[in-house]
Amino acid sequence: MRRPFFLLLPLLTFALTLAAPPDKGLIINLDNGELCLNSLQCKSGCCHRRSGLSLARCAPKAAETQECSPKSIIGVYYKCVCESGLTCEADKSIVGSITNSNFGICVDPNAHVL
């Protein structure tokens, strides 16, 4: 009964070590496309899911003129946060901030000055 376990354990550890070369991680420093629970885990800084039921994966941040969400404490986004230097211009509502659906557009705050 215990035998399969003995076999499985080294196999699993082998698979995990194979899957994790030194420069990347299983838990932090995740590449785009890897499963995540929070944006802090991703190299890109955005842990993205398509819908409430789908799994979250690391994804690139939104560029200017693309759809975005403002930074939230939830840490998982339906639309990624903007790249640095940009702000997500969105109509914020209380319901939106609870359901994480205050979507907006990335804009450059400096562009208005010109």
């Binding site: 070369p21 995740l30 785009n32 496309g33 499963l35 560029a63 200017e64 640095s84 230097g85 450059d108």
Partner: protein
């Protein structure tokens, strides 16, 4: 123990001179070079056509979603189908442990039918692919012969010329296409999507895919690392008129994900498991599929090695232009009788298309600082993300050059934005800016220059307009 194995291999190697003959298709031997050589130690004869059961599944604009099965053994099935002789015909076939009903073949057909009116035929030979590798590597000879027989039937019954035929084969399927090309002279084109390496690399050209198999042979290499010890399933050898090595041809971006993330794929567990087993190898048909809808997203640059490509060899395209990897490779006019190698970078997930630019930035500011800076491109068709140009010591007055592969076709450039950061608190509040930014597109060599006069604090975008 090792001695026993060597002896067994030796025994297997000496069994030669066998031959099988099948009606319609002719005879198949396992003489040298088909077996008994260093590259092909184990001799196997191809299975019977009945057992391999090569099936032709036709999709056209009239039936893009459900195939019609056609066969040359019973030509009335061709007459009754939507096959039209005034259209080009493209065959697609799969490789080892795969089947013709697999989604990727049908998806490729659907994409083709979006851009052109063709007879798209998926060739299924799962009867001969789900077996030992050595057996499958010989079964493809029958598969190639079956397709050749079909083309011959078209020629006899309808006067349909082989010059209208394009055969796309993945892995072992690429060598099946080669067999068809050897039997039907004057095939317009064969596309090898990461042709299989074991039993084919370094073999004589009557065994493997080669320039002589069709008027035009183009190959995409995505898993060219050696089978031992890297488990690279594809050939590194250049075997076509044009050989493309996206991302260097050995390690594809997006294929180094951890086990769970790889298997639990966006496209489902099945796609994920396939990628877990052979991610690099399967990328070849994904790139091809994407290239159908993105005509300029896969420009290949001529270069002897990937390293020199990364440092700028072949950039921008020579006056004759560059070929496009994938579907539009046959638009290239510089085809010669020797293999030419082309390099490019792709994305890590679909859409895989990328546009390559050379960016040259001259920095202005007060003093040097260690950090990085990015450039984003703004054009008539859209914007790109910020791409890192340099990381290290940023000094005012210095010029930095980098090649970037951007994810969008932005069209005619009208401005760029510069942003720098060094991820630490800067009590001196240093300011940097880009004096001049020159951006050159690799595809046609067009250059645009942008000028800026201001400097900005970290994490603030500086806009540069055309000058």
């Amino acid at each position: 123990m090792l001695g026993v194995w060597i002896f067994a291999l030796f025994l297997l190697g000496t069994v030669r001179g066998d031959e099988v003959c099948y009606d319609r298709l002719g005879c198949f031997t396992n003489n040298i070079p088909w077996a008994g050589t260093a590259e092909r130690p184990i001799a196997r004869l191809p299975w019977t056509p009945g057992k391999i059961n090569t099936r032709l599944l036709l999709y056209t604009r009239e039936n893009p979603n459900n195939f019609q099965e056609i066969t040359a053994i019973n030509p009335s099935t061709i007459l009754a189908s939507n096959f039209k002789t005034n259209r080009k015909t493209r065959f697609i076939t799969h490789g080892f442990v795969d089947k013709g009903e697999e989604n990727w073949l049908h998806d490729m057909c659907k994409r083709m039918l979006q851009v052109e009116d063709v007879n798209c035929i998926c060739v299924d030979w799962k009867g001969g692919s789900l077996c030992s590798y050595t057996q499958a590597a010989n079964n493809i000879r029958v598969v190639g012969a079956e397709v050749a027989y079909f083309i011959d039937t078209l020629k006899d019954n309808y006067g349909y010329s082989a010059a209208n035929v394009h055969f796309i084969g993945h892995s072992l399927g690429a060598h099946a296409a080669a067999e068809t090309g050897r039997r039907v002279r004057g095939l317009a084109r064969i596309t090898g999507l990461d042709p299989a390496e074991p039993y084919f690399q370094s073999t004589p050209k009557e065994v493997r895919l080669d320039i002589s198999d069709a008027t035009f042979v183009d190959v995409i290499h995505t898993d060219a690392a050696p089978i031992i010890p890297n488990l690279g399933f594809g050939m590194s050898q250049a075997v076509g008129h044009l050989d493309f090595y996206p991302n260097g041809g050995e390690e594809m971006p997006g294929c180094q994900k951890n086990v769970i993330s790889q298997i639990v794929d966006i496209d489902g567990i099945w796609e994920g498991t396939r990628d877990f087993v052979a991610c690099n190898h399967l990328r070849s048909y994904k790139y091809y599929s994407d290239s159908i809808l993105s005509q300029n997203g896969f420009i290949g640059y001529p270069s002897p090695t990937y390293e020199s490509f990364k440092s700028g060899t072949g950039f921008p395209c020579p006056s004759g232009g560059c070929p496009r990897m994938g579907h539009y490779a046959d638009n290239f006019h510089g085809v010669t009788t020797v293999s030419q190698k082309f390099y490019l970078n792709t994305g890590d997930a679909k859409e895989f298309s990328r546009w390559r630019y050379m960016v040259t930035v001259t920095i202005s500011g007060s003093f040097s600082v260690r950090g990085y800076f990015n450039i984003a491109l703004y054009g008539s068709n859209g914007v790109t993300r910020q791409h890192q140009i340099f990381k290290g010591s940023i000094s005012p007055g210095k010029t930095y050059t980098a090649y970037i592969d951007v994810e969008a076709d932005v069209g005619t450039l009208n401005k760029v934005k510069f942003l720098w950061n060094n991820n630490i608190l800067n009590p001196l509040l240093p300011k940097f800016g880009a004096q001049t930014v020159t951006v050159q597109f690799g595809g046609d060599g067009t250059k645009s220059s942008f000028c800026g006069s201001e400097t900005v604090r970290e994490d603030i975008l500086q806009t540069l307009n055309l000058c």
